[in-house]
């Protein structure tokens, strides 16, 4: 018998595409940590993982779909939410997660984001916010704090940024939370809650972009930035989402802000059609009967 003991495996390897490691993210980037939290969250939800799908758009975070060992789609820039909408409505048994960046979700995909929230499509959006477009070299984003430097705002950002939780809340999302990548346990817990919540749930993850945002703004390493975000953030569950603006290198509010009940798109469809059509209506959802 071979005397060499079997090497133990990293416990997350079962849910990662190890044949694609190392991933493309820079040293001290927080996206990997957000993925690590997501993997832990997946293990904590009581749902068959064969039925969990991850959809990403384009950008650094857009690569998440390529690293998780689930059915996964790397789509076009800004459009993972409508793709996910099609998937979810195509087979309501699926648990569909959109994992993408701030540029993808609230800039080019902003229109899709607000309408999916309004309709309460039953998907979870995990939006990694690193305050800039990193994959293309650090351009200004709709989340870049005022005065922060980016390659396309070389004299400082002067456009008011979006607050993702406020946007999500005002458009009707049923679950909204914000954590930094370093709030590992709390972030994981929010991901679990979001995944378990029927309807449109949003988890914003504040992540350091070490190579571009940190360097350009002379904020030290990614580690320094991670520390700053974590140490200067104030946990305030249930905070009024109008007060969640992020100012450049100032304390920010994190926590779980919204957790409410609203019928999902499919619940509303079934209810309205039943009401209007009675016995003639062919209910939709549940088992995938269109094989």
């Amino acid at each position: 018998m071979n005397k060499e003991r079997l090497k133990p495996e990293h416990p997350m390897e079962a849910l990662l595409r190890m044949d694609r490691m190392p991933h493309i993210w820079c040293p001290t980037c927080g996206i990997g940590t957000a993925v690590s939290c997501f993997i832990t969250a997946l293990e904590k939800i009581d749902y068959p993982l064969d039925k969990v799908v991850v959809v990403s758009g384009i950008g650094c975070t857009g690569r998440v779909a390529g690293y998780v060992k689930l059915d996964s789609f790397h789509t076009t820039h800004g459009r993972p939410i409508p793709f996910a909408t099609g998937l979810k409505l195509g087979n309501p048994e699926l648990k569909v997660v959109v994992f993408s960046g701030d540029g993808d979700i609230v800039a080019i995909g902003g229109n899709h984001f607000i309408h999916a929230a309004r309709r309460n499509i039953d998907i979870t959006v995990i939006c990694v916010n690193n305050f800039n477009y990193a994959m293309t070299g650090g351009q200004v984003a709709p989340t870049t704090p005022l005065t922060a430097l980016a390659t396309t705002s070389p004299y400082g950002c002067f456009e008011t940024p979006f607050s993702i939780p406020y946007l999500a809340d005002s458009c009707g999302a049923v679950y909204v939370a914000r954590w930094t990548a370093l709030h590992i346990r709390r972030l994981t817990k929010s991901m679990v809650e979001a995944l378990n919540k029927p309807g449109f749930s949003v988890v914003e993850v504040i992540c350091p972009c070490s190579t571009l945002y940190a360097r350009r703004n002379k904020l030290g390493t990614g580690l320094d930035l991670m520390k700053f975000y974590h140490e200067s953030s104030v946990i305030k569950h249930g905070a009024d989402t109008r007060e969640l603006d992020i100012e450049f290198q100032k304390p920010m509010v994190v926590g779980k802000f919204v957790d409410r009940e609203r019928p999902t798109f499919l619940e509303s469809w079934n209810a309205q059609m039943k009401k209007a059509l009675g016995e003639k209506f062919q209910p939709y959802g549940g088992s995938n009967e269109h094989d």
């Binding site: 060992k69 789609f73 459009r79 409508p82 793709f83 909408t85 087979n91």
Partner: protein
């Protein structure tokens, strides 16, 4: 495979092309449509929205055409036959996901009820000027399939072909109607469900550990899986290998893109649908598609009454273009006439295939209405000289 009878509204109806198109989709088994209102295509999804709750499926009016065109890709991967419907300006917005659909090899149908353009153009009047856009409108290199019906009956009949071709070859199929066909009302006969054949999705028979999402069968089409069936597959719009993993290399690009193109080109003989009338011994052959074919037929009748030997070829599948047949005809006839509601799109392909062996005359029309038969007739007479 027989269709689900729930979607088949067997009987004779007086329907316009848009409504018939919707019935064709339902009969073909389409159970998911996403759309955004735009004249003159909206009636298709209006009818779908009304009919689908009675059939068991779903309709969603998305926030724009970008969203509609990718939602149908998601629904297709979830296992449903899906379609979206639009007209010129919306078709332009959908180009992004026609490319993604080609890259992800996703069966689905894009209906374009063509109107006059460019830009907002003529919302309520016909055009046939999106034909090149249907072929190459999205960036990059790929081949798709485009069909052109010329009546409400054909909108029904060929929608079934459109879905079948999309399943058979795993490509988005462009269903290129026009405002005239879309808004024209005629008799439409919908056969009993047991007389409608549909092509089932080609699912893999391999277990997850052996399955590679983009490993093609000998006909170059890779079998598919459904999301949620435990295959844990990954697909990306990036250039990818057979595993579906991105590979940024010229070699991988060559393997993938060449196959995407060959998948259609090498199977073209099985994809082409065209009709011919009196082409044997003809001096002049008129080639047309869509509504223009009906007008051209009248012109051909006029020319035949004058004793001219005029053949007629009518393209139902326009892309891929029936090159082989055109080359054969080019050796035999004196001239070709092609009427199009544009200033020369499909005719460029005709000229390429004829390669100078015969005259090629375009009978152009800017759209807004169809040709007068006389306009085509004059070109036929000119070609015969």
């Amino acid at each position: 495979m027989k269709v689900d009878p729930k979607g088949v509204l067997t009987g004779s109806y007086f329907l316009d092309g848009d409504h018939a198109c919707c019935e064709g989709a339902l009969a073909a088994g389409c159970r998911f449509a996403a759309g955004y209102p735009i004249t003159p295509s909206t009636e298709v999804v209006e009818r779908f929205a009304e009919r689908i709750p009675l059939v068991g499926g779903i309709f969603i009016q998305m926030e724009d055409e970008l969203a509609s065109s990718i939602a149908i890709l998601g629904a297709s991967w979830a296992g449903l036959k899906s379609m979206t419907v639009t007209s010129g300006p919306g078709f332009s917005l959908m180009m992004e996901h026609i490319g993604l659909g080609a890259m992800l090899e996703t069966p689905c149908v894009f209906v374009n009820v063509q109107r006059g353009g460019p830009s907002t153009g003529l919302p309520t009047l016909p055009g046939q000027a999106d034909m090149m856009q249907a072929r190459w409108g999205s960036h990059g290199d790929y081949e798709l399939i485009s069909l052109c019906p010329n009546s409400p009956q054909e909108c029904f009949d060929f929608m079934i072909d459109a879905f079948n071709l999309s399943e058979r070859y795993r490509v988005p199929v462009m269903f290129m109607m026009d405002e005239c066909v879309g808004h024209m009302t005629e008799k439409v006969v919908i056969p009993p469900a047991d007389q409608i054949e549909v092509v089932p999705r080609r699912y893999t028979t391999l277990p997850p550990e052996e399955y590679l999402p983009f490993k093609p069968d000998p006909d170059l089409v890779p079998p598919m899986v459904k999301v949620g069936d435990g295959y844990r597959f990954h697909v990306t719009g990036l250039t990818h290998d057979e595993r579906g993993y991105p590979v940024m290399s010229a070699e991988c690009q060559e393997t993938l893109v060449h196959r995407l193109i060959d998948k259609i080109r090498r199977n073209a003989r099985d994809i082409w649908i065209y009709e011919e009338d009196q082409v044997d011994g003809a001096e002049v052959v008129v080639i047309s598609y869509g509504i223009t074919h009906r007008v051209a037929l009248r012109a051909v009748q006029m020319a035949r009454e004058k004793g001219l030997k005029v053949g007629m070829m009518r393209l139902i599948v326009v892309w891929p273009f029936p090159e082989e047949r055109i080359r054969q005809l080019a050796d035999k006839v004196k001239a070709f006439v092609m009427p199009e509601m544009n200033y020369g799109q499909v005719v460029l392909e005709l000229e390429r295939c004829v390669a100078g062996k015969a005259k090629v005359l375009l009978a152009p029309h800017g759209g807004g209405t169809v040709h007068k038969p006389e306009q085509i007739y004059e070109r036929i007479m000119e070609a015969a000289k």
